[in-house]
């Protein structure tokens, strides 16, 4: 009887100790395990394959492929372009990110209506194809380090504009990007928030998108990521491929210099 009680007490103490050791970790540990499980297979692969096919496929009113599209390193070059975007393009005289540049190519090479496509909602029609293309192009730079150019005057101007947008407090809740992403080690509910005013680390923030989102089963490019941030900030709607989204992306991209791209990532 005495022995039994002793054993019980010991087991109880052990249980308590292990519970105490585990307790503060359980929530984030569980999430980490969930994320590790997700790595087993990333449905982004499917979008990647679709994107590669679309690149080579004759499409649009001009029945042409995208193989002559210049994403910054010359027509047809797709390896390594992603980690240098957004950048200035002399032909359009604009700073462009991957998605707005693909939009330009789909318009000039294939004859798609640029304005019409930009107006199309995410996840619909040609927007889906654009996301698949962006996923594939990004995947072709997987493992490379971000290294955006700041040599052109307009790239410098866009960095400064992007910084101002990042700190722009507005909307019904006075939120700016910095409200959530301006400090180290913060959370919203249980979600860790990267500090985006500096390089947040390999595969974090800008270096993770496009990404497949398990929670809604959707593939999101950076444009949609920023769009949903703005929605949650209670801002009005940022136009697809608008200068504000490109400048903000450039600011995040320049800050991520040296971060290894893991795009397309998989997210909860």
């Amino acid at each position: 009887m005495y022995k039994k009680t002793l054993w019980g007490a010991a087991a109880c103490a052990l249980l308590l100790a292990s519970a105490a050791a585990q307790q503060p970790k359980t929530a984030s540990q569980g999430i980490d395990e969930y994320r590790a499980m997700l790595q087993d297979g990333n449905p982004a692969d499917l979008f990647e394959a679709k994107g590669e096919g679309l690149w080579k496929q004759k499409r649009g009113p001009k029945n042409a492929t995208l193989e002559q599209c210049d994403l910054g390193k010359g027509p047809g070059v797709f390896k390594g372009v992603f980690v240098e975007l957004p950048r200035y393009f002399p032909d359009t005289k604009r700073v462009q990110d991957l998605e707005s540049r693909l939009l330009t190519c789909m318009s000039t090479l294939q004859g798609f209506d640029e304005a019409e496509l930009a107006k199309t909602a995410f996840g619909r029609g040609e927007q889906n194809n654009l996301t698949a293309l962006a996923t594939w192009i990004a995947a072709e730079s997987k493992g490379m380090k971000f290294n955006l150019s700041q040599s052109h005057a307009q790239e410098k101007v866009f960095y400064e504009v992007g910084k101002r947008l990042f700190f722009q407090r507005a909307g019904s809740h006075d939120f700016s990007c910095a409200s959530c992403h301006g400090e180290e080690g913060k959370r919203i509910r249980l979600q860790d928030l990267p500090r985006l005013t500096q390089n947040p680390g390999d595969g974090v923030g800008f270096a993770a998108w496009p990404a497949y989102r398990v929670s809604n089963g959707q593939m999101w490019g950076m444009q949609q990521r920023l769009n949903d941030c703005y929605r949650q900030q209670r801002f009005p709607y940022p136009g697809f491929a608008s200068d504000a989204t490109i400048a903000l992306g450039l600011y995040l991209g320049v800050n991520s210099k040296g971060a290894v791209s893991i795009a397309p990532a998989i997210k909860r």
Binding site: A153, R164, R189, P236, D243, A244
Partner: protein
């Protein structure tokens, strides 16, 4: 209208580029270019009107500028912002500051409202748990704001209706109604001032924080 703004944006950008080949445009020029780009890039969607970014008040404008500069606001400017926000606080018409903490808990949990996907008529949440620890039963809380666990207890509030509790009760109401009245560039939304929460909802949140029976104070 939209087209002319776009044209203007491009012209402004080009002008700045020509002017600033050797060096960057001035900070003021970059501010104005940013505003031009904001006007051209955002549009109204649902209840999220474009004015939310084009008609920003002085509080947000000045705090954003300070954030960009990486320097805190000048003390006098900060004081002026706090005073004007304090004056704008609407105190409870009937003098009743505390509502029902149970309803307050539900409001604190909800992060709904005022996005372009929220129905305009739906009730808004307070978003409290997104940033604050409150009742200990809720382990999914954010850390952007300070912990509010035992908010009333730590401040010695055993009877919120007592004269001794009055200053803290009023401060709590004021802080929720208009956070910028006490800290010019606080990260916290101005729940009452901005029309996020109604007077009744603020009452319930105050109760959640100060009612001795609220789980926050257990």
């Amino acid at each position: 209208m939209n087209k002319s703004i776009k044209k203007w944006a491009v012209t402004a950008a080009a002008g700045l580029l020509l002017a600033g080949c050797a060096s960057l445009p001035s900070s003021a020029e970059l501010d104005s270019l940013t505003q031009t780009i904001v006007k051209a890039s955002f549009r109204t969607e649902g209840q999220a009107l474009v004015e939310r970014v084009t008609a920003v008040d002085d509080t947000n404008r000045l705090c954003s500028q300070a954030d960009v500069a990486g320097k805190p606001l000048d003390e006098k400017v900060a004081k002026a912002i706090e005073e004007s926000n304090f004056k704008a606080i609407k105190w409870p018409a009937d003098g009743k500051f505390l509502g029902d903490w149970k309803q307050g808990e539900a409001i604190a949990q909800s992060g709904r409202g005022l996005t372009w996907t929220d129905p305009a008529k739906s009730a808004n949440g307070g978003n409290c748990y997104n940033c604050h620890k409150m009742a200990p039963q809720e382990i999914s809380f954010g850390t952007l704001g300070p912990s509010l666990y035992q908010y009333g207890k730590l401040r010695g509030v055993s009877d919120p209706n007592s004269p001794a509790s009055k200053p803290i009760v009023e401060y709590t109401w004021g802080k929720i109604w208009n956070s910028k009245a006490y800290n010019a560039c606080s990260n916290m939304p101005r729940a009452g001032h901005a029309g996020i929460l109604t007077e009744d909802q603020v009452r319930h949140i105050v109760a959640l924080l100060l009612d001795p029976n609220s789980p926050v104070n257990k």
